[in-house]
Subunit: 137 residues, 6 copies
C-alpha cells in the first residue's frame, strides 16, 4: 500500500520520458528488473529523471570510494532514518556487489555502536573539542 500509484511496464512504456529513464536504468544495471521506487517516482517524469541521474552519478561511476563502500554508507543512513524499504534495497545491492557475511556483521556492529554513542553524546550535550576543528589545519 503506497501513497502513489506504482506504474506497470505497460504504463511506463506509454510515457516516453519515463520509458527513457527505465531503459537507462536497465542498461546501466544490466538487468530487466525495475524496483518499486522508480515505479512510484514515474508519476512525475521530471522527478524520476533528476533522481535517477543523481543516483547514477553518485553510485555507479568510478570514484574515490569502492562501490560496495558506498552501498554500506547508504545502508547506514537508511537505518538511522528508519527507512525500511531503503535498508532492504541497499542491503540487496551491497550483497550484489559482493558484501560478505563478515562484512555485513561488522557493518551492523558499527551502525549499532554509532547509534549508542550518538545517543550518549546528545544526552550529555558534550561540547566539541577544539582539537577536532578542521579550520585549524
Amino acid at each position: 500500500m503506497s501513497t502513489v500509484k506504482l506504474l506497470t511496464d505497460r504504463e511506463a512504456d506509454a510515457i516516453p520520458a519515463v520509458k527513457a529513464v527505465f531503459d537507462d536504468i536497465r542498461a546501466t544495471r544490466k538487468s530487466e528488473f525495475i524496483n518499486n521506487f522508480w515505479r512510484g517516482l514515474a508519476n512525475d517524469p521530471a522527478l524520476l529523471k533528476r533522481t535517477w541521474e543523481g543516483l547514477k552519478a553518485v553510485m555507479t561511476v568510478e570514484g574515490a570510494l569502492d562501490p560496495l563502500v558506498r552501498e554500506m554508507v547508504y545502508i547506514a543512513v537508511s537505518t538511522a532514518n528508519g527507512c525500511s524499504y531503503c535498508v532492504h534495497s541497499h542491503t540487496a545491492a551491497a550483497r550484489a556487489r559482493g558484501m560478505t557475511e563478515a562484512q555485513h556483521a561488522e557493518l551492523l556492529a558499527v551502525i549499532g555502536l554509532a547509534g549508542q554513542t550518538n545517543h550518549l553524546v546528545t544526552a550529555m550535550q558534550i561540547p566539541v573539542d577544539p582539537e577536532f576543528d578542521v579550520s585549524a589545519n
Copy 2:
C-alpha cells in the same frame, strides 16, 4: 555547556576505574588526547568501561572492513542522527586514518543522496519488492 561534568585529568586519575580506562584509551590510540566524550562518561565508571570496550572491539581491531570504512559509516549514522559532536569527532578520526578530500566529497554525496531517497520512499510508502527478500536465497 553539557548536562554532566567533564572530568579533568586530575579528577579522572583519582578514580582508579576511570584511570584504567583512560590509560587504555591512550595506549590503544598512541596519543595523550582524551576527548570530551570520555570525560563525560567518566561520571559513571561502569558505563565508561562498557562503552570503551564496545568501541575498541568494533573500531580498532582487525576485521573484514577497513578501519577508514568503519569511520565513514560512523559519520553517515551520526549525520542522519543529527549528532554534531559525533560528526566532528568521526570526521577528524577518518582524516587521521587517511581519508582524502576526494573520499570525503564522495561520502558527502552518498549521504545526501540517501537522505533524499529515504525521504522520497517514506513519503510514497513504497512496498518492499519481493526480489529483495534475503530469506529467498
Copy 3:
C-alpha cells in the same frame, strides 16, 4: 497489531467522555468514519479529548494558511519522522482537501530535496550565516 486496544464503536459508546469526542469528530468532519488513531487514544479519554481539541484548533479552523497547505506540512513532518500511518492518513486528508497529482508530485520533490540538503548541511556542520538572524531585523 498495535500496543493498545482499538476501541470499537460499541466500546466507545459505552464511555461518555469517549462518545462525546467521537461525536464531535463526526460532526466536525461531516463523516461517520473514525480512523484507528482515535480508537487507540480512546483508551485514555483525557488524552483523546486534549489531542482532538488540539488538532481541531490547528487543522480545522479558519486561519492564515490554507487547510490544504497545513495538510502538506503535516505530510512533510510525518515523512521526516518516518511515521508510516501519519503519511498515509494525511496524504488521504490532503487529497480530500483537493490536492492534485501535480501538487503531490511537487510536495514530494521538496521533501526529497530538503532531506538531501539537511543531510549535506549536517555532514558539513555548516555555521549559520549572520544574515539569517531574525533578531537583527
Copy 4:
C-alpha cells in the same frame, strides 16, 4: 566550525566550475549574497552543481505550489530532521517570500501538532486504516 573549508569569493572565483554556479545563484536570486552552504559544497564542484540544479528546479520555477508553500514545507522537514542551519536559512527564505507572522505562527502550530501525533501513533503502533489506501481509488 565546519568539517569542510568554506570557500571565500576569491577561492571560488579561481575554480571556473564553482564560479559558474555562484554566478548562476547570484543571477537567479538577484542578490550578491552566497550563503555558507554553497561555500561548503564548493569543495566538490560536481556536487555543488548537481545540488544547485536540483534546488533551482524544485524551488525556483513556476509550479503547482506557491513558492512560499514550498519554503514552509522545507522548514517542516528541516525541523523534524533537527537541522538547525536549514531551519534558519529556510525561515529567512520564507520571510523573504512574504511569510507573515500569522502564517509563521500557524506553521509552528502544525509542525508541533504533527510532532505530537507522530509520536503517539508510533508509540501505539496504530495499523493503517484500509480507507486510506490510494490504490483502491
Copy 5:
C-alpha cells in the same frame, strides 16, 4: 539566535493573554523564572496557552507516574529527537525534582542501549514476534 522574537517581561505584560499564561506558569512552578521556550511561543498567545495547558496537564498533576519518571521519559524522547534545548531544560527539571547522579547515569545507560538496539533492529529489519501481540491478551 532564534527564528522568532523572545518576548521580554515588559512585552509579555503588555499582552493580557500572554500575561495570564506567564502568571500561571509562575504560580504553578512557584518560581519567577520563565524560560525562553515560553518567550518564543508568546508570539502566538493561542499556541502559548494550548501548549502550556497541555504541559501542565501532563507534567504537573498527580498521576500514575512519578513526576521524576515523567521528566526522565522527556529527556529520553528529547535525546532521540536531537533537541539540544529540550535535553538541557528537562535535565535541569529532573534535577530539580530530585534526580540523583546515580539515576542520571542509569538513565544515560538505558538511552544509549536503546539507541544501539534500535539501530541494530532496523538494520536487520527484524519481524515482530507474535508473542508481543497485545491484542492476543
Copy 6:
C-alpha cells in the same frame, strides 16, 4: 522479511558461542522464549554476546532506577527513533514488569508532549537559558 537469517534453535545450538548466550538469556529471564532480535544477532556470535551483556548489565541488575522505569524509557527512545519492533518488544516487557493501563496512558501522553515541544523548540531555534547550565552548579 529481515536482511539477515533468523537462527532456529537447532541452528543456534550448533554454535557453542551462540548456545551459551541463548542459555544465559533463558536463565536470566526464566523463560524458554528467545525473541527474533537475538536470532538475528546470532549470525555474529561476538556481536550477540556483547549486545546481550550490555543489555543484561543495564536492564536486569539492581540499580537506582526501577526496572519498569527503564523499560518505559526504552519505549520512549524507541518511539522517537521510529523502531516498530522495539516499541512492541519493550511495551510487552514493560507489561511483564507490571505496567498498568494508567501508567501506559501517562507514558504515551508524555511521549506525545515531548514530540510536540521538541518540534516547537527546533522550529523556533530557542537558545538555551543560562539557568540550565549544570556546570554553574
